[in-house]
């Protein structure tokens, strides 16, 4: 038997040695950069074909036009035509498995030329260990077109966090602003019950109660839900469906955000005294039946949307795109008249909210990539193609047509991370389109080229409601009801103090986030008394809150 053990030991050693050797061999070599300055220009074409490999996440769901796929489609063809660059897919997964597959790719030193890193700490580790190409110079000379305009349109430089030791290692798609939630409410129900459009906290509560008790939808007793609430995270980032952050904001609480407190110090929104007030209100509302009683037993908002569609809910929180949520209900309930309302307002009559956190995910280029400039240039082409900047060229238009008609919004076939819109796209297009209805003249700046189709859809519905399609009606609702509200003077955009992770967060944050979410839900549905909030704050601070708050404060102080 000894022999057997020896053989076994030998085999392990040999295999480990092989895998070690493999690791060593794969050490990144700095790619030779003998590229002429002409080829560094944003849209310059190569004479010989250049190949780049990408890792991509694909949200399928059958959104491809006929004959197209992730590896053969209009956008790739446009990139090939414009630049003579072939984009090859190294590997692809569904969004849920991307992180895992990327981690394995990293661990085995088999990185594609370019990929998205959606975890900030992984990004830092990659940059610090020298696995990424330095983009500082490249970004200056090679980025151009819509991509550059978009990134430049944001007040705070969205690329700042992707600099490590003053070198740029990632290009981020900035988060769209104006994605905060409004309160969408059934106006026909309000009229039926002779109630005014709610504004204050108490108004909202009374209206929701009235919807439940008086049953304006005629569903039968106990079948109507006052207000839909996000089941997994009722105070989720405000751009999430049915998130009650709006309620918290009205009492001055800003959950899931680092904000600057009254004393000028940075504080985590979930542990402020205002948050206790907000939770107290919500627990009271839950108890008195304003919220759906069993909201926390659902797995996703997908199980709640049916209440809206089935005429059983009168209020939900959603961004300016709300009409697309209730889109399909009109056949069965043509009387439904939803309107977005800026409510609840705070005691000063303002509608406070925060914008989304700054992006923590970015597109990076591997150090082993031979033509990093080709990646940046291909990104330029993708952004321009998707924002319809090439549409004057009929040949390119023909390439992109199948996908446009399919309505995939580009995300299924684009090889690089999501295309962003420039900073004030929502209010600008809302204004342009409402003016179009009033005056009959459509003026869109070049940056809004992609909004031409929505504008025509809105007009089609406006002109003839009878023959308009469901999609045209939804677009009309979103652009004429939702988007214009973003221009309302009562809006107050509360700045976020900090969006990124810190050193200690890697270890501590996950369990603190878990504690956050579970406490919020437990207090709202009365499983824990409101006084438990103080225990929670103490626990949160002890679990790492104090350490992390200090780290954030230090970073904020430094950047002042």
């Amino acid at each position: 038997m000894r022999k057997g053990q020896k053989v076994l030991a030998l085999m392990i050693t040999v295999t480990m040695a092989i895998s070690l050797a493999a690791c060593n061999n794969a050490k990144p070599k700095q790619a030779q950069t003998g590229i002429s300055s002409d080829l560094m220009k944003p849209f310059s074409r190569y004479s010989k074909p250049v190949t780049i490999t990408v890792a991509r996440q694909t949200n399928r769901g059958g959104q491809f036009a006929k004959g197209e796929s992730t590896s053969n489609n209009g956008v790739l063809n446009v990139i090939k035509k414009k630049l003579n660059v072939d984009v090859k897919i190294a590997w692809e997964t569904d969004p849920g498995s991307y992180k895992q597959k990327l981690a394995l790719s990293i661990a085995s030193n088999a990185l594609p030329d370019t990929f998205v890193v959606d975890d900030y700490l992984t990004f830092r580790a990659l940059a610090e260990s020298g696995k990424l190409a330095d983009l500082t110079q490249l970004y200056k000379v090679s980025i151009g077109g819509f991509a550059k305009t978009t990134i430049d349109s944001y007040k705070n430089n969205p690329l700042k966090p992707f600099e490590v030791n003053n070198k740029l290692y990632g290009i981020a798609a900035p988060q769209n602003g104006y994605t905060y939630n409004f309160m969408w409410i059934r106006n026909d129900w309000l009229k039926k019950l002779n109630l005014p459009v709610p504004q204050t906290m108490d108004d909202v509560k009374n209206v929701a109660k009235a919807f439940v008790d008086k049953d304006p939808g005629g569903n039968g007793a106990g079948k109507t839900v006052g207000m839909i609430l996000n089941p997994t995270d009722p105070l989720a980032d405000s751009s999430n469906f049915y998130s009650a952050t709006t309620i918290a904001n009205a009492v001055g609480a800003f959950p899931n955000r680092w904000i600057t407190g009254k004393d000028g110090k940075v504080v985590w929104g979930n542990v402020t005294p205002e948050m206790k007030t907000a939770l107290g209100t919500m627990a009271d509302w839950y108890k008195s039946g304003v919220f759906d009683k069993s909201f926390m037993t659902y797995k996703s908002v997908d199980e709640e949307t049916p209440y809206i569609l089935n005429n059983q809910a009168g209020i939900f929180f959603c961004g300016w795109w709300g009409p697309w949520v209730y889109s399909t209900m009109f056949k069965a309930h043509p009387e439904a008249d939803w309107i977005p309302v800026m409510a609840p307002l705070d005691s000063d009559g303002k509608f406070k909210h925060t914008n989304p956190m700054e992006p923590t995910s970015c597109q990076v280029i591997s150090k082993t990539c031979k033509n990093p400039e080709a990646v940046v240039k291909a990104m330029n082409v993708q952004f321009d193609a998707e924002s319809m900047q090439f549409d004057s060229d009929p040949e390119i238009l023909a390439m992109l047509k199948p996908e446009r008609e399919q309505g995939g919004g580009g995300r299924t076939i684009d090889p690089f991370s999501a295309i962003a819109n420039y900073a004030s796209m929502v209010p600008d297009s809302g204004k342009a389109i409402t003016d179009y209805i009033k005056t009959g003249n459509l003026t869109l700046s070049p940056l809004l080229a992609s909004q031409k189709q929505p504008a025509e859809d809105v007009m089609a519905y406006y002109k003839n409601k009878g023959t308009a399609t469901q999609a045209q009606r939804d677009t009309f609702g979103a652009y004429t009801l939702g988007a214009p509200l973003t221009l309302d003077p009562r809006n107050v955009d509360v700045p976020i103090a900090y969006s990124y992770t810190t050193e200690s967060m890697a270890d501590l944050w996950p369990s603190m986030t878990a504690l956050d979410k579970q406490t919020m839900i437990q207090i709202i549905c009365g499983q824990k008394p409101l006084s438990y909030f103080d225990d929670y704050v103490a626990q949160w601070k002890k679990a790492g809150g104090d350490v992390i708050t200090k780290e954030v404060q230090d970073i904020v102080n430094k950047s002042k």
């Binding site: 493999a22 491809f64 997964t93 569904d94 849920g96 997908d302 939804d474």
Partner: protein, 294 residues
């Protein structure tokens, strides 16, 4: 030999069994009905055993492209290849291990080795590094080799081999047969019921596995069916909701996760439903064993 009279006991047993069967059948009908219903009714839990507002939209989504059929073939190939490999290792390992310690002294060492490998595993990262260093990434071998030796099935089959009378083996040895011959010509035919069970386990396991496909396969064209279906997730992209076109958003909203998932389950069950009755036959023919006289 068997009484043909139907007794009270028979009736009671039948009633209990029918009751059990119904509790099992209802949820299946429920799943099929949900997959064929519209999302509103499905989401509200109104659907029980009959579809409401009949629609085949989720199936259309699944069956739409060629990839579905490519992946279907990959899966069939995987099940055949993986099934044969699994059964081969089961038989060659279970047979010697079914001997008692006196006949095969190293047996216990092998047994604990098997149990050890069943309970401990190094996790995803080292397994991936290994498969990558062996050059198996993006090939079917990455899906069938790492799980080639199913310890649980080996122990089952080993136990079944033990119940086969040793007189058979002794007689064959007397005739000068070697153990390979005995294993193949005497034990394997007699263990048909157990082999049918482990084959079923192997087939079901290979058919249903999706995670290894995601990890080890890079080219979607080589995905097995379950992996492909998994990538068909219809999740709404909240982060980039502003860049969604209305048509796109509507399409995503029209198929709910619930109906879509149900359709996935129904599609993925079909081949198993086809293969099971075939294997079930062997559970019955296994009774021939009783004909061997001690």
């Amino acid at each position: 030999m068997r009484k043909n009279k139907i007794s009270m006991t028979d009736i009671i047993i039948s009633i209990i069994l029918i009751g059990i069967t119904i509790t099992c059948l209802v949820p299946i009908l429920n799943t099929i009905s949900i997959s064929l219903s519209d999302r509103v009714s499905a989401g509200l839990g109104k659907v029980y055993v009959w579809p409401i507002n009949f629609t085949i939209a989720p199936y259309e989504e699944i069956l739409k492209d060629k990839q579905f059929f490519t992946s279907f073939l990959v899966s069939i190939f995987r099940v055949l290849l993986g099934g044969v490999i699994n059964v081969f290792f089961c038989i060659t390992m279970a047979y010697p291990l079914s001997k008692d310690v006196k006949a095969f002294r190293a047996k216990n060492m092998y047994m604990w080795f098997l149990v050890f490998t069943m309970l401990f595993n190094g996790g995803l990262v080292p397994s991936y590094l290994l498969v990558q260093n062996l050059g198996l990434v993006d090939s079917i071998w990455a899906l069938v080799l790492p799980g080639a030796v199913p310890v649980f099935s080996i122990i089952l089959l080993m136990n079944y081999f033990k119940s086969i009378p040793s007189s058979l083996e002794e007689a064959a040895l007397m005739d000068g047969a070697n153990p390979f011959y005995i294993m193949w010509k005497i034990f394997v035919p007699l263990a048909k019921p157990a082999i049918a069970v482990i084959t079923l386990f192997a087939v079901v396991g290979h058919w249903n596995a999706f995670f290894d496909g995601l990890i080890y396969i890079n080219t979607p064209g080589k995905y097995p069916l379950q992996t492909y279906i998994q990538t068909l997730s219809v999740s709404i992209d909240y982060q980039n909701i502003n860049s969604l076109s209305p048509q796109d958003l509507m399409k995503q909203m029209a198929i709910s996760d619930l109906t879509f998932n149900s359709a996935k389950v129904v599609v993925s069950m079909i081949p198993i439903l086809l293969i099971y009755p075939l294997l079930q036959r062997y559970f019955v023919t296994g009774i021939i064993m009783g004909a061997v006289k001690e």
